[in-house]
Symmetry: C2
Amino acid sequence: MPATIRDVARACGVHISTVSRTFSAPHLVNPETRGRVLACAEHLGYRPNKAARALITGRTHNIGLMVADIANPFFPPLIKAAESQARHRDYHIFVTDTNEDPSVEEELVHALAKQVDGVLLCSPRMSNSLIEQLSREVPLVVINRQVTGLPAVVMDVGQGARLAIEHLTGLGHREIALLSGPRGSWTSREIRRAAGAAARAAEATLTVLGPNPPTEDGGQSMADQVRRAEVTAVLAYNDLMAIGLIEGLDALGIRVPQDISVVGIDDISLSRLTRPKLTTVATPTAAAGRTAVDMLLQHGDDRRTTAQVTLQTELVIRDSTSPGPHCPAGPGSTAAAALEGVAS
Amino acid sequence: MPATIRDVARACGVHISTVSRTFSAPHLVNPETRGRVLACAEHLGYRPNKAARALITGRTHNIGLMVADIANPFFPPLIKAAESQARHRDYHIFVTDTNEDPSVEEELVHALAKQVDGVLLCSPRMSNSLIEQLSREVPLVVINRQVTGLPAVVMDVGQGARLAIEHLTGLGHREIALLSGPRGSWTSREIRRAAGAAARAAEATLTVLGPNPPTEDGGQSMADQVRRAEVTAVLAYNDLMAIGLIEGLDALGIRVPQDISVVGIDDISLSRLTRPKLTTVATPTAAAGRTAVDMLLQHGDDRRTTAQVTLQTELVIRDSTSPGPHCPAGPGSTAAAALEGVAS
DNA sequence: CTGAAAGCGCTAACAA
DNA sequence: TTGTTAGCGCTTTCAG
């Protein structure tokens, strides 16, 4: 039904290749002819068929971005940054949501494969071997995960987890729980590894509770187990879980940070709005989105560039942590004051 | 680089059409041959090129979904519902974010055009005439807007706004402000129209403040103007603005609901978490997502079906509204108690 | 059941 | 500067 290049050529009395050039290499066609072609095209409502063009050029100028859960406020800043970076480079981003489901992830890579020039895999849950296999079908950049041989941009949650644990032990906490994330999450493994090491170094006990769905409900429903674990502080896999946990504890009559300190990871905007405001590890999500787009696009020019970029994280101390039973400055002081006590 | 249908045919000693059939019409090929083809394909890592297939069949089995702002928590439930509905019908959803920018919207429709079988336009900001024009390029279903000749699913925010105003006037409020939404928003116009009518019917004054960006910041920065408007109640274009406004008022020392009542629209999950919990108009976002997918897909079979579906909204009374100065039950009673007073 | 041939809408050498 | 030709990877008649 829509007009094709041939319709325009006919209506205009030129060959189809002239029409083609008018749109893909205008400088190669006589200005006068170009004007006529453009007029005919306009008149017929002609639009180049991007799919057909891609079939021959191999370039769609689209990028796929797969996220684990579009409802998680962690992702939008990353998506927005990727979009803006892509737009600068004359590309468009197609976002897909995998529902935290590995099999959906695979299906979606296939669906995206020839509609985009590459896919950004954000926090994928599938196996390394599957990712490697899929990377033969379409260029891949992995975010929040390391897969040998594939370009990746990771946020250093290990370092973040270490900072969080050091913050807690510095406040005098010795019994700490870790609410781990979903099965298959590289980030969750990193956090666990680094938090474990940091706890050991400070001679604190780390109790791992999980795996858990990385959602508010996931955190909320762990409140009871946290209470039974008899810890004085908790590090959660992400802010959503931390916020859910705080609500759950609240329902149990346990106060944060007076009774239990809670630290999240991500620094989503919501963590500034809750009461208490959440102490958390800020991850550079926007930078990650931008970097991933850049890596994908330069990867096309230069096949050997499979660098793995690591972005730093930082601890943001707010109101959900306070001194524990073994605090050198004594309980009752604020988190900040306690820190100073430790530092001196 | 990736294997094509021809590679498989050669490796297998059959014609390419046999390979084609093996994947697109397996019942038409001898089980034995089929097995051999499948084995070769597997071995070569062959995957049918969906773009090439689409070029000839005209079907991509993908659906585009354009939202105004992916960071707005209003959209994820709609997106999730659309995805799940699409998956049931063997389709995939590609989400794009327009950043509330009409020109980006147009660009994205073109980018999606031949990569998807249709586009769901969610709260588009562009002009009706442009939407109509784009609908000749790719099948469109409009959500939260009415465009003559195009299938649409709208949530009845007009009715919702009326309920909200009636709730406020029932509580004795006579000076009400409306924080309107962004320019170009059909929803905002509907709200304004309906709220205006409802206020008139109740002999209340409605002061329209706006247009505003439909974000938390948009609401927060209006706090001062709301104060100067000397109203006792506010209806906001959406929950995000309502929540932002409450924060802004809080910073000004104005208490909600004691000093000013605030009502939002959407019932995003966040509105249950804030203090005070937000009174709001619940919109059936999930149903809208599902319905839009259904309409797009059946629209293919049956060209004349350009129905416009309207989904009902309902008022959810929480803690951000309380009796105003003219309340029949007298100020100081709770919203619920006041309502009973009105009913009797 | 399988092969041959045409063609989806477009681009890219190569000639003219 | 323009037309000619070949073909991207696939599906789909139509014969055999």
